[in-house]
Assembly symmetry: C2
Homo-oligomer: 677 residues x 2
């Protein structure tokens, strides 16, 4: 039995053991992994392409040898010769499992592709872009007073636009002569000025009056997803938005697994750098295509991300971020040619700006949230939490701003949850449990009906009901707590204790059944005791981080809470507070900022003064390192209860009365011990 091979699929995290010789596609189907196939495994359609990982994956507890999959076969070779295949890819229907292996399903092989929820905020941004267009009329060359075309263009920019010093790189030098002549000495210059001064750099030249696109790309580079907003640099309008999975997931789901991957595998950081750069380059093209804008019209990119992603994107080994004292290679903002980080599909002279990092665990994404939400301008003491695989937490008002990060893990994103899945059609995103009958009703992504509405079954025929996404699991746990199915300690009661057959024994603990589709060959969707524990760990980390900042601030209460991140938009203040993710606060003072990091990136993209502003602001933010604060552990333990073992929640109590149940019967129900991370 143990001679079977362990197979772990990413990004889903689904795993199982299979006999040697099992085709990858077969294994994927048995595990319910979302791997497409049109030709039914004949090696023709290539929809089932997968990428095997090789090397050490400490997070998954496996080391993958190069022969973990069967050798490249004739069918694959024929396909490759005929249609081409990306380096490292295999056909899932042909490659057979021969040993323990980690297999990545790339986005294009997923039938139910990720709906990246990070939509552009509609917030209007004050325009003051670094790159602007200038039309000039340039003097013709004169043999008697010889001077270069660039020098006469510089003179024109000075005389007509008061632009003092210019510079131009080889790509522009190559274009300048034909463009000046084609435009009959009238040209439009795309010129970039750095907010730290220095010469104005010519990024591109166009014959005559250019009326085409001038675009910038605001990139929110998350550990799990990469979201990009293509913005018109003339008016700030979002021309298109797009998102893809971060391809680094196959090296590790969370940040620390990626750091480990870099530590354990020589050159692993280079692989990850290449993967993320290639993905961003491709994302730029796809977003530009969607907006019907040539990729060369993208003159600027702004990237916000956490410190590990920051380092990996910039080509820096993140190993120092995996151990105290968590030293960043650089914490400053960077302004450099985008080609220096291999973004080559966009304008060859395009610029890259990265926001400053606040500390080794508090990155440019937190800086972007600070830029977007401006805690330093608040009268009320405001807590801002940006929940992702890592949570960034800011607390402050006009007097002072504090920041920390907390390792929530991926549970809030539906990962490491038994029925969890990423936000995609078919995923349960909303749930309500009747406190009397204990019966659930729910909604899935892609359908506006509730599960007890007429026509729901028909409306969800296409997508099926496939799992629970991040916001769904939070709501489910909170509803279970409110319905008395889970007690304050996080234990799920037995059918007898709860009065519902939906609470079903599972080993020595219980699960709550939300939906059983096994009759239609679909999954059985439950919330297990392990799921509750995973959510408790995540929410405790988040709460403890916030509490640490409150301690530092000398505050017992916060006056305002802003939920930032993809996910803040999808959970209610009440549910978050029932869970004890956030401290108590008037419910109407809990707001969602949407993707505040993405908004910050857009602001920095469109407004050069904002860059200088956040650079200055970041130096004034006081950083708290959760990893070395002794009280963090205490806060963490106390925060395990729902909502909290010690802290009172008066505002929550005024609207919700939580059932006073306790299912601890002397140890037999303590599922926590059996939880596997």
């Amino acid at each position: 039995m143990t001679s079977d091979a362990l197979v772990i699929f990413t990004p889903s995290g689904k795993r199982g053991r299979f006999a040697h010789g099992t085709p990858v596609l077969t294994a994927a189907r048995q595990l319910g992994v979302d791997l497409d196939s049109v030709c039914g495994g004949r090696g023709i359609c290539s929809k089932c392409q997968i990428t095997p990982g090789v090397g050490s994956f400490p997070k998954h507890g496996v080391t993958v040898s190069p022969d973990a999959l069967s050798e490249w076969n004739a069918v694959e070779q024929r396909y490759k010769d005929k249609r081409g295949l990306i380096e490292g890819r295999r056909l899932g229907c042909q490659a057979k499992i021969m040993g323990d292996v980690v297999i990545d399903v790339p986005p294009e092989s997923q039938l139910h592709r990720q709906v990246v929820r990070k939509a552009a905020s509609i917030r209007a941004v004050k325009m003051d872009p670094a790159t602007r267009l200038f039309y000039v009329e340039v003097a013709e060359p004169d043999m008697h007073e010889p001077s270069g075309d660039l020098e006469r263009l510089a003179r024109a920019l000075k005389d007509q636009w008061q632009i003092d010093r210019i510079e131009a790189g080889p790509a522009v030098l190559r274009k300048i002569q034909p463009v000046l002549r084609k435009g009959n000495w009238g040209v439009t210059v795309a010129a970039f000025r750095d907010h730290h001064g220095g010469p104005t750099r010519i990024l591109d030249v166009f014959p005559g009056l250019y009326e085409g696109a001038l675009a910038g790309l605001a990139i929110d580079l998350g550990s799990t997803t990469i979201a990009a907003h293509l913005c018109d640099l003339r008016n700030g309008e979002v021309l298109a938005s797009g998102g893809i999975m971060n391809p680094q997931i196959r090296f590790g789901e969370d940040l620390m697994s990626r750091v480990s991957y870099a530590m354990m595998n020589p050159g692993g950081d280079v692989e990850m750098t290449k993967a993320v750069r290639t993905a961003i380059d491709a994302l730029a093209v796809s977003v530009a295509d969607e907006a019907k804008v040539p990729p060369q019209a993208i003159m600027e990119t702004v990237v916000v991300c956490n410190p590990v992603m920051h380092h990996l994107f910039l080509g820096i080994d993140p190993v120092e971020l995996g151990q105290a004292p968590f030293a960043l290679a650089t914490s400053s903002s960077l302004s450099l040619p985008a080609r220096d980080v291999d973004l080559t599909a966009i304008n060859p002279e395009a610029r890259l700006y990265t926001l400053p990092c606040i500390a080794g665990h508090v990155g440019a994404d937190a800086a972007a949230v600070a830029l977007s939400e401006a805690p330093q301008d608040q009268d009320d003491l405001t807590l801002i939490v940006d929940v992702g695989t890592n949570a960034e937490i800011l607390l402050g008002n006009k007097s002072r701003v504090l920041a920390c990060s907390s390792p929530t893990g991926p549970a809030f994103e539906g990962a490491q949850i038994s029925s969890g899945q990423r936000a995609a059609p078919g995923a349960i995103e909303r749930i309500e449990i009747d406190p009397v009958t204990k019966e659930p009703r729910f909604r899935v992504i892609g359908c506006d009906l509730w599960s007890d509405d007429e026509g729901f079954a028909k409306a969800t025929e296409g997508t099926g009901i496939t799992g629970i996404c991040g916001s769904g699991i939070i709501e489910a746990v909170a509803e279970m707590r409110m319905a008395g199915i889970v007690d304050a300690a996080g234990l799920i009661g037995s059918p007898e204790q709860t009065g519902t057959a939906r609470c079903q024994p599972e080993g020595r603990t219980h699960s709550y059944l939300i939906h059983d589709a096994t009759a239609q060959n679909g999954p059985r969707i439950t919330v297990t005791q392990g799921d509750i524990r995973a959510i408790q760990l995540a929410k405790s980390a988040l709460y403890a981080g916030a509490r640490l900042l409150m301690d530092e601030m000398g505050a017992d209460r916060v006056e305002k809470i802003v939920l930032a991140g993809a996910f803040g938009a999808h959970i209610s203040a009440k549910h978050a507070m029932v869970l004890g993710m956030i401290p108590d606060c008037p419910l109407d003072k809990v707001t969602s900022a949407g993707n505040a990091a993405g908004t910050g990136a857009r602001i920095a993209l469109c407004n050069i003064a904002a860059r200088a502003g956040i650079e200055a602001q970041v130096t004034r933010i006081h950083k708290v390192e959760t990893a070395i604060e002794p009280r963090f552990q205490e806060h963490f333990v106390n925060a395990s209860a729902m909502p909290h073992a010690v802290d009172s929640f008066p505002n929550l109590s005024s609207v919700v009365t939580l059932p006073d149940v306790s299912f601890n019967t002397g140890g037999s129900g303590e599922g926590g011990r059996r939880r596997r991370r």
Copy 2:
């Protein structure tokens, strides 16, 4: 007969017609082209590698079709599979001539490789380099006051070296963390400051106190040869020098043929750019190897060259330089990352500096000569001529400096001369003709003996006596003039007129026999009437350019002449003046500056103030465009006589009396008409 294929070899320019199916190696041997072979044509040694050109070569009057050589054969394939072969290369012993073709013999296939004469001048340069080393001790990271390693390094540079603002690119960001830790927080920084201000850029970091090499490369990029001096950036010492042929020769010998090649062949400029960049990158490595310095220790490069080379090197189509008004894309100096011009073998953060161009025909090489010779500091009216395929001419003193260029063509370099060859062992470089007996004696490169010295034959056995190099042909023509073998108009006399059987009829003109080695299967070395005409054209262009500047200056005489260029070192003032290459002047006021352009490059490499200085100076130099000056043609015609038809040469007359001979017998001796360029 005309169905035979025309074969032109570069860089030698030798040409002939051969039956279809003739192997390239055979053709090369019949023409005396220097193409190596060790295995005797068995396709084993690969010493006979050649590169066929494809496309239109207006200068050679041929269009080469892709099937001008026989198809790739099994022997070549076997060699390539086993040992590898550079893209585009063929084995000369295997490839057969099937049509008109231009064939380049790369340097490594030449048995008698070029001795590039451009040796580093011994001139000491005042050191003030842009790149310097700074040792600093950096504070360790502190979790309570988080800051990036780069930021603490910046603080150390500020505190310990008063360096205010720094920046670093991805290559350095990647190194900074391991280097700081390896050096136990003591590191040496290679930092570059631009002379126009802006932040100091960190080019590299080394653990502890770095005592290794810190080098810069001064590159004199000529149309024909590329010379490089590797300099120690700490003391200016020349660590090694090297030179290679400019691989662009296969696209055209002179500048205008290359411009034509770019005009006639789409993408031709890109090909030429790639060729020269690849060559410079390889030259950098070979010079570094010679100095036993890692190529990554090269932190800076300075390039001087004429405008066409300047554009082609920077990736700019030179087409505008081929037609009035000869507009440069840019005339300013450039300071940019060397990787932007694909110099990737050296330090990834290495910088490139190009000197400013003076005008469309007067390039950064002329600026480098001005930097080296400083005409603006002279009391005497000084004429500086830098003779290459193009001649750069400067005239000036403390009051004013003028500049022009003149298209001398490659005759002065031994090209387009019947027995001409580049400076290499076996080439005649010195010659004397007895005015009474009219018998010559000579010296060849690689042997210190004169041809009438005892042991000469034995001493030259290895090299043979293979041709005449550039300085040799000038001396030969001047000696022929002094010995009364050539008249003032440039006609070679008959045996009867000159009294020597060495003057031999050749068609309707005469040649002068210098050496006949046919008995030993060697060449017959003569100076033909066509050779005299080629030299007359070249020297007339040079003289006319100088005269034009004198007109502009309102001067009839110059007080001082500096012969710059590889070649100035090898010709005597007397011979140059007999020929009328240069205006009359006291002979002791004619000096050689050696490779002044290369010296200028070295100065700019080692002294940042010199960069600012020459940039300012260039704007004050008055440019004269020979192509549009009506008097140029008149000066050119008058300069055809030796030394001159109109201008007197009193200083020359005081030391040399030229025989008053005239061999014009009514047109039959007018070889000029039959001359083919």
